[in-house]
Amino acid sequence: MRRLSIHLPTFACAFLAITGCGTSRMFVMPTRAVVEQPTPTSEGPTPTAGAVVSPVVNTRAGTVAAPATSSIVRVQYESVSDDACQATAPDASVNESCVSCQPASPMQGCPTPGCRGCQGCVVQPFGYANASPYYFNPNLLDPNEFICDGGDNAPAARAKAGDQIIGVDLEDTVVRYTTEAGDIHVQPSNKVCLYAPRFAAVRKVVGAEGGELAVGAIAMDRPQGPVRADLVQPGLALSGREPLGRGTAVRGPDAVRARDRSVPVELVIVPEVAEDVLAILGNLTYLNGGLIRDAEKPWISKAAIAAITWSIDEQVAVTVNDLAPATLTRDLDAEEMYVYDFPDAGRLRICKMADKSDALPGDTVTFMIRVDNVGDSSVDNVVITDNLVTRLEYVADTQKSSVKTDFETEANDGQSLRLTWKLAGPLKVGEGATIEFKCLVR
C-alpha cells in the first residue's frame, strides 16, 4: 500500500493559486463596460444647433443610456425648442429629455426609474410576479402603448462623404443641408407620438383523452405558429428572443488605412481605442507593483506609440500598423494669409406634426414636416429623410410638398419604408418647405 506523500511547497503554491490569496487582486478580465462615448464638439462646451461636422466618435451599437455613475457628460444636438414645434403629442413629457433613451419594455424593471420611464436598463425578468417592487410607472404612461416618429435616436445621424446620411434608424426624421460656407449640417426633428396600443393573443388548448390512464394534450390538427399570418414565422420553441440588430457597425482601424495624411477625418478611431485600453492599462502590474510582465509588453509598447501620437499639437494623426505617424510642419507667412469672410450660416428648423394624437389599428394619420430657414444665409442640398417604424405604413401617392422635390422610397429594416425628399433648389432666408404624407397605422 503506497503512502500518500505531499510536497509542502507545491501544495502551498497550488492553494495560493486556486484561492488567489497572496497574489494581486487585479485579476479582472478586461470587460467591455457600457461606457457612453462622448461626442467632441468643435468649440465650446455647448454645441450650437447645426454645428460643423466635427470628428465624432462612433457610438457602439446597443449602448444604453449612461449609468448614473458615469462622469462623462453627454453632449448632443440641441433640440429645437421654438414654439412652432408644438407637436400634437398626448403628453410632452414622453418626448422631453428622452431624445436618445431606449423605451423600456414593460417586462424589464429598473430599480431607479429615471428619464421618465424611458431608461433602458436590463433587469433579469423571471416569472410574472417577480419584477422589482420598486419599479412603477411614475407618469402613468407606458411607452409601449405609443408609436413615435421623429427625432433622432442613438446612434446620432450624421453626414458622410458621398452625400450619404448614416445613423438614420427607425423612427428618425432628419434634414441635411449645406450652408454657403460649404458646411454640412444634420438637424433632427421633434418627436411626434401617437397613442396606438395593439394587442395579440397566445392560445393553448388542452384536453383529455378518454379511456386511457394518461392524460395530456391531444394532438393539434392545426399548424403550429401564428395563424392567418402571411409571414413565415420561426418555430414556437421560444427559449429566447433575438433582439433586432439595429446597431451601426463600428469602423475599426481598417477604415483609416486609406488615409495617410493628417486631414480632418470623419471618424476618429484613436479616442475610442483609448477608452477601451484604459481598462487594461489601468491594471498593468507595472503600475501596481513596478514589475513588467512579458504578457503586458505589447500593451505598453502600444501605449508608448500612442503617447507619441498624442503629444503632437494641433494635429489629427493616425497610426497604421504601429508605425509612428509623419508630422506635418507648416509655415504661415503673414503676407500670404487669406481671409475668407462668409456671412453667418444658414440654419434650418425642422418641425414634425401629426393631425391626430391617438389612432386605432387601421386608422390613417397625416404627418406634416415643415422646414424653415431661420438662419442668415441660404442653404442648399436640402434632403429630408423620414424612416418609418414598423407599425406605420406609408400610403402610396399621398405625399405632397409645397416646393419642387425629388421623392423616393426604399425598404427599411422594420418592414416599412424610408422616405426621402430632395429639394430641387436652395432655401433662402425666411423661406420654407412643407411636406405632407399619410400613413396607415398597422
Binding site: V202, M220, A237, T434, R442
Partner: protein, 281 residues
C-alpha cells in the same frame, strides 16, 4: 521535506474541502468583479407564477406587485364570431345581451369575472361560461380609456374546442412596438399564436409583450348545487358598464398652422391665408 504523516482519509477530505472552498471563493470574486450582464435563463427555470395557475392567483400576485393597479377599472371589449353575444352577471344573474357588439365593461384588475357566451354561429342554443382575469392595465391618456379597451376577440375555433370539452386558455398581451409584426390589423381582428401543451402560455406571452388579460374557456354549465354558485361566480366582483367612445370628428382643414405663417398655395388649394394671433385655430 515530507509532510508530517496524517491519516490518509483525513488528508484527502481536507484537500477536497479546501478545493471546494477555493472554487466558491473564486466564483464569488468573479461575480463581484464581473461587469458582464447575467444571461437570460433558459432551461432549468421554474417560473414562480405559471400560466396554468388557477384563476385569481396571477391577478392577486399582480395586485401585490408594482404600480397603481388596485381599484382600477380597466376597459375591456368582448367580440366574437358572427352573431355571438356576451353577457356579464350582476349578483349571480346574467344580464340580457345588449344585442349591439361589442360588449364593453370596466373590470377590476386582479378579479376574475364569469361571463356567458350565447348565439354561437352553428351552435345556437349552446352556452359557454368562460372566465376573464385582468392581470394588468393600460395607461391611456385622459379621456381615451373608453376608446382603447383591451380587445377580447374570441374566434370560432376557441368556442368549438370548448364545446367539445377542451380547455382553451388565451393570454392577451400588449404588443411591443419595437418587435411588432408588420401586418395591418383592425380592432376587430385577432392575431393568435398557438403553442403546444407543454409550453407555458403566460411565459410565451411575457416574452412577446406585456400580458394583460387571461381568458379561460371551458365551463359548459353553471352548477346546480346552489352553495357552489359563489365559487362559480368567483365572488361576484364588481364591474362597470361602458361603451366604446368614437373618435372625435375633425374638420377637413386641420393642418396645424402657426400664427404669423403664410400657408403655401399648394397646400391650401390655391388660397393664401395669413394667420394672426386673433384668428382662432
Amino acid at each position: 521535506m515530507r509532510f508530517p504523516i496524517l491519516p490518509k482519509i483525513v488528508l484527502n477530505v481536507a484537500t477536497l474541502a479546501m478545493i471546494m472552498v477555493a472554487s466558491d471563493v473564486s466564483a464569488q470574486q468573479y461575480a463581484r468583479n464581473s461587469n458582464l450582464p447575467r444571461p437570460y435563463p433558459s432551461g432549468n427555470v421554474h417560473r414562480l407564477i405559471p400560466g396554468d395557475a388557477p384563476p385569481g392567483m396571477i391577478g392577486t400576485a399582480r395586485l401585490q406587485g408594482r404600480g397603481p393597479v388596485g381599484g382600477h377599472y380597466q376597459a375591456v371589449a368582448f367580440r366574437g364570431p358572427g352573431s355571438t353575444e356576451f353577457s356579464l352577471p350582476i349578483s349571480g344573474v346574467f344580464q340580457p345581451p345588449t344585442g349591439r357588439p361589442p360588449l364593453c365593461a370596466g373590470l377590476l384588475i386582479g378579479s376574475v369575472y364569469r361571463f356567458k357566451i350565447t348565439s354561437i354561429p352553428g351552435y345556437e342554443g349552446e352556452e359557454l361560461f368562460p372566465t376573464i382575469e385582468v392581470i394588468d392595465r393600460t395607461y391611456p391618456p385622459e379621456s381615451l380609456a373608453a376608446r382603447f379597451p383591451i380587445p377580447i376577440n374570441l374566434e370560432l375555433e376557441d368556442l368549438q374546442d370548448a364545446l367539445e370539452g377542451r380547455l382553451v386558455t388565451r393570454v392577451i398581451y400588449l404588443e411591443d412596438p419595437s418587435t411588432a409584426v408588420p401586418l395591418a390589423e383592425t380592432p376587430e381582428s385577432s392575431r393568435t399564436i398557438d403553442i403546444p401543451g407543454n409550453e407555458d402560455v403566460l411565459g410565451v406571452a411575457d416574452q412577446l409583450g406585456k400580458p394583460i388579460a387571461i381568458v379561460r374557456i371551458g365551463s359548459l354549465a353553471p352548477p346546480t348545487y346552489e352553495p357552489l354558485l359563489p365559487e362559480f361566480f368567483l365572488g361576484y366582483p364588481h364591474w362597470l358598464p361602458a361603451a366604446i367612445q368614437p373618435a372625435v370628428e375633425t374638420s377637413g382643414d386641420q393642418s396645424p398652422i402657426t400664427p404669423g405663417d403664410i400657408v403655401p398655395d399648394d397646400m391650401n388649394g390655391g388660397v393664401t391665408h395669413s394667420f394672426s394671433d386673433r384668428d382662432p385655430i
